[in-house]
Symmetry: C2
DNA sequence: TTCATTGCAAAAGTTTTGCACGTGC
DNA sequence: GCACGTGCAAAACTTTTGCAATGAA
């Protein structure tokens, strides 16, 4: 993603553009592997040694608040982030930990009168690679 | 739920019956409000002052491992538990924090060859009561 | 006796908060 | 000048772990 695009996107979302925010968002769009805070921080701090982890947390929060990124809370211990904001499900492999996006459609009842603001579909199990590479049961 | 039922259920799941486990499980079945560890602990310790919080954690883990209860990780900060093991979605209200169960059916693609062991559908927003009781936007 | 379970204390680990410093409008 | 963002350190919080004690078969 180009700098102008990011600038326009931030402006549209009324989000002040800072080098930290741009770096975090850029990294997420270019690395759609649902990285966690640690991973994001380690990477952006490489190019910008002055960045702090607190700021990465702040940036992620700001980006998530404006709907530019989605927090993925499928991992037990940490929050991961996804720059793909089109609704989709997330599958996490118990063995390798990799997260796979998948299309999904959910039909639900019993929520008449509710205002649904966010939907998350989380699956877990074994991805095809892990399932085929190992033949033992856990 | 009666004691004999719990005993039979535990036996069927090859889970040793201890007073702590029985109390935790009983509380969950009788209070299907998806309580968190703190709530469960505070309640069971009332009747059994010697119970420790670590043990509540242990019990919940043991029960979840055997599929007797389901960890609900829709809350940002803590794990909640559900004794209803029939697949259903969970909705959490941003304002009152209450969790509502709902029926749902998910269709998904792109997961050919995957072994899906667990599915979680989490919605959030405003429940009907909160939506109607307040008229301001957040 | 044996082995899983319990319970206390401490540890672990991520995320949040307080506060001073910078910076751009 | 002011409001906002940043960054460091410390705090907060839930959950996990180590280990001795307990208890049931």
């Amino acid at each position: 993603m180009q700098s102008n695009d990011i600038a326009a996107l931030f402006k549209a979302k009324d989000l002040k553009l800072t080098p930290q925010r741009a770096a975090v968002y850029k990294f997420l769009t270019e690395n759609p592997v649902h990285p966690d805070v640690e991973t994001i921080y380690n990477r952006v701090v490489k190019d910008n040694p002055s960045f702090s982890k607190t700021t990465v947390y702040n940036c992620l929060q700001a980006l998530a608040d404006r709907g530019l990124i989605i927090p993925v809370k499928i991992d037990e211990s940490r929050i991961r982030y996804d720059a793909n904001t089109v609704f989709h499900g997330h599958f996490i492999c118990e063995r390798c930990g990799e997260i796979t996006d998948f299309d999904c459609a959910v039909e639900n009842s019993r929520l008449e009168g509710f205002e649904i603001r966010r939907r998350d579909v989380y699956y877990s199990g074994l991805c095809d690679r892990c399932k085929n590479n190992f033949n033992f049961k856990e």
